[in-house]
Assembly symmetry: C2
Homo-oligomer: 572 residues x 2
């Protein structure tokens, strides 16, 4: 593993904050504030550090070739001996996916509800990491980690076993609520608010709350409504039904299995992450699956169309997912045929819109009927509480201080405005981004001017943090206009060319069709070398720089493209 | 200019269809069907060809470094002498932007309403193309082009001067309606439907209709509603107002100017395309602009906040647009300050979501209030008719045959379904994609099995069509994992290495931090060269191939990355 290279250019140098004087709690987001993903929240009080979540983020399109982005934990490494544990709120990659890369450097205990821990275990085994530090806790357990006395409480999300944290700190009670939603009027909702009221009665010093859907107004679609739509589709459809959703959306998976059971269809699972996710949930008894309803994909051809429901990966149009392969006619077992109905039971993660649209287009081309459009088509409910629900939570909790959690900057700001509407004074709301430090006492809180490192650490293949700005910039340059390598073999004594320069280019022009340009370029190089060799005899570094610049200008005039130019001088 | 390289891999070889026997009209889409953009529709009857629109498309993200995509017109070039003219429906780039690249190869007359022709003129002058073939027609004119007798009729869209085409062909009347919307109940709407009824009474053989919003159900927001919202925002806002929209959305531009006039604000224009677009419209007298309301941006600092409205480019988060520069704090004249209100009066073109979100985040960071969210926030109305309106048009026209125009495949399919609901029998509806040929007589029509070339022609800098699959694939490979050039200087007689191999890499690893790997790679190359030189003495092509493969495997084992590998052998 390499040293972490921090891509964020405004990154401060590593400065370790000394212990605070007096009773001050530090709240430091190392990920997930000012972005969607790689959530990692640090609570620090004197000699104790508590970490909540340790996620990864998928790269944005300019991060060419990158597999994942994880938080920069240099701050934590410096204070490693103070870390009392990591608590996971739930089993989504943006909350635990950083662990295989990060945990080996921290080595602290990890706590989570059964499903969360099961997902981590799976990953750790894949990475060959010991699982003996993983601790399963119940969603109503209490944990004492250093000076932090934590009560877990159950929350609702797209997967079971989500927990909220009520952290009794030496300065007061802090509520940490990650990704969550509130179901419509029912027992669960009542219990949830009753719980919040109990905390409120104890007095909540600070509330940290998921901001993901703070910009979503109006009434959200409920999971119940979605399960009704799915059941209706199953009842009305005569041909095969293919449903795609997020593999970890186990609540949705359950709805599909229920609908299949009611309409006498078998369920066939396709796609690695869907198989894995369901296998883990089944082992824990989390899914209610009637005996014999799940059948192996190899049995597909023994079933008649009206007996078939396929549950598969690919809701984001991912390149090698089951649904994309079906849409492209490349799936080994499932060939799309007229009469098939495909249900895309998910919404688009920003950036995936085109890939999803392309999959849907291809499914239509193959003759399928496709039901898509998420909330509009009533086939997807978000896992995140929207504006009205967020306000209800804030009103119920009546926190002294409010910090919006998880969201891009606009979500945090809109969430802060909601908190104001819900009664929190503006000067008691702190919009912090990654690396900023909020200090909280029982009387006051402030967004300090301290910044700890919190940039992007890029994972690419086996390299963690070894792809930095330079490598990325080179990839971007070559992606745009390609590369041209000019090799000049020169006499070591005279600096004269021994042979005509070799020119190799990739991604710039199709050289076979531009022999004219290749010829002109070669002549140009000869002239440049002669000229600069005369002026700067044997100062090859300088000569290469000058040739790079002049050749770049020449090629731009000829093509209006700016390939990366690599002059190479071989002395013989 | 290079020969066209066709990127679409399933592209047929150029096959020129001979003239049809008998009275058959050929309808051939060369762009815009199966995609959004580069619209180009061909109508061919015996010795006459009529072209409607000639657009460009913006590249999708996998088309690295590409500026634009234009239609493949090899079919038209072969039949150049039959082309009677190009008619433009309106002045959007996806309807005329291909002309500067394509027209020089066709040389036929171009017809369009004043605004459309003004935009083309601007482009032609930029490209140094003669404008003498541009002909301005009124939106109610009639044109005889070969055997085609064309009546233009006015349509509503986001810019003025949009025309529909009623083409009287030897086999019957064909209606061609590109991008359009129908305003809510008003005089314009009544006139439009009265016009359609008149055509219907004459008997419409075929209707070709914009499918862009065929998947949008429910009532669309009207432009009227948007102008009311904008006026309200202007009335309620005390600080500066900055509005961004598409530069060609002149209807919206007018609304902003009207709102500014009513609230005594001056309008400052920022961004090249916005300035240009407004300048062209003003010259034609298309915008109603009260005297003195538009002031130069240099006067900004003489105005008080409540007197300022800035109208700027950047609604899609484009990198160098005015709004992006403001958001990044890099705009020369406009520095965002708390109290500013930014209105993003546009919707996201798929693929631009992240760039727009990033701009909005940055505006919030600078302290602005941002109103965004398109139709939800009632600050943007689409320029395209949605499902209900499309059905109304089809019902009014009562065409014998129906061909959905302009849309990705799912839009075309959904539009075909709407046509069925509107009374057109399924076997009289033809969903054609680019390059497919529909033949129509007065009695029957069919989607033939003919395919004419219709792939992507890529424009990159000065090159038109010279970036093909190979160059693109190389860019994609280098974007992902970079490149490694291994230069081996060998004795021409013995094939033995004269010096240690030179290794240059870009975008693969940061070599300074991986000297270990560079060393191992160099040793590896020495071994490989010795081994293969012994076996295949002087067969350098083969030796390079073998080294490329082995070195690739070695580097993958070391890094799990697959850089492009270029072995170079220099014989001395």
């Amino acid at each position: 593993m390499q040293n972490a290279v921090v891509v964020n250019q405004t990154e401060p140098k590593l400065k370790i904050l000394p212990e605070t004087m007096g009773n001050i709690l530090r709240i430091i987001p190392l990920g997930g504030l000012g972005e969607i993903g790689k959530n990692l929240q640090v609570y620090e009080f004197k000699r104790d550090i508590l970490i909540v979540d340790c996620g990864l983020m998928f790269p944005s399109e300019e991060m060419l070739g990158i597999d994942f982005v994880i938080p920069d934990i240099r701050y934590l490494i410096e204070k490693k001996d103070k870390i009392r544990g990591i608590i996971l709120t739930h089993g989504h990659l943006d909350h635990f996916g950083g662990l295989p890369y990060i945990w080996p450097k921290l080595g602290c205990p990890i706590y989570g509800a059964p499903l969360s821990i099961a997902y981590v275990k799976e990953k750790f085994q894949e990475f060959g990491i010991s699982t003996q530090n993983l601790h399963t806790v119940k969603s109503t357990d209490k944990l004492q980690l250093g000076c932090f006395n934590i009560e877990l409480f159950p929350m609702s999300h797209t997967m079971p076993d989500e927990v909220g944290l009520a952290i009794q700190t030496p300065v007061g009670l802090v509520l940490h609520i990650a990704d969550f939603r509130i179901e419509e009027e029912n027992e669960e909702r009542k219990n949830f608010f009753a719980q919040l009221h109990r905390f409120a009665n104890r007095g909540v010093l600070a509330l940290l709350l998921d901001s993901t859907n703070a910009e979503v107004t109006g009434k959200s679609l409920t999971e119940k409504a979605v399960s009704i739509t799915i059941e209706e589709i199953f009842k009305e459809t005569k041909g095969r039904i293919i449903v795609t959703s997020f593999a970890t959306n186990l609540i949705r998976v359950q709805s599909v299995i229920d609908a299949a059971a009611k309409t006498n269809r078998k369920v066939i699972i396709s796609g690695f992450s869907m198989e894995k996710s369901i296998e883990i949930a089944m082992k824990l008894g989390i899914l209610k699956i009637p005996k014999g309803i799940i059948v192996d994909i190899k049995k597909l051809h023994y079933l008649r169309d009206w007996e078939i429901a396929v549950l598969c990966t690919g809701s984001q149009g991912e390149e090698f997912s089951a649904l994309s392969r079906m849409a492209a006619g490349e799936h080994k077992q499932v060939e799309i045929q007229p009469g098939d109905t495909v249900v895309v039971s998910a919404s688009a993660i920003p950036g995936n819109e085109r890939a999803i649209a392309s999959t849907i287009n291809n499914l239509f081309r193959e003759g399928a009927e496709v039901i898509y459009g998420g909330a509009e088509a009533e086939i997807h409910a978000s896992g995140h509480a929207s504006a009205e629900d967020l306000k209800s939570v804030i009103r119920a909790v009546r926190p002294k201080f409010f910090i919006p959690l998880h969201g891009e900057y606009r979500h945090l700001i809109l969430h802060a405005k909601l908190a104001q509407k819900a009664g929190v004074p503006a000067n008691q709301i702190f919009v912090a981004e990654n690396g900023q430090v909020v200090e909280v006492t029982k009387d006051w809180a402030m967004l300090t001017r301290h910044r700890v490192p919190s940039g992007y650490v890029l994972v690419d293949g086996l390299g963690v943090g070894d792809v930095g700005n330079i490598v990325l910039r080179d990839r971007q340059a070559m992606a745009k206009d390609g590369i041209l390598v000019a090799i000049m073999t020169v006499d070591a004594k005279t600096g004269q060319l021994l042979t005509s320069p070799d020119i190799i280019s990739r991604g710039f022009i199709y050289m076979r069709e531009r022999e004219d340009l290749v010829h002109k370029t070669r002549e140009n190089i000869k002239k440049l070398l002669a000229k600069y060799n005369e002026r700067h005899r044997a100062n090859w570094a300088l000569i290469k720089t000058l040739i790079r610049e002049d050749l770049g200008d020449f090629l731009y005039r000829e093509t209006e493209r700016r390939p990366m130019i690599l002059p190479v001088i071989i002395e013989v």
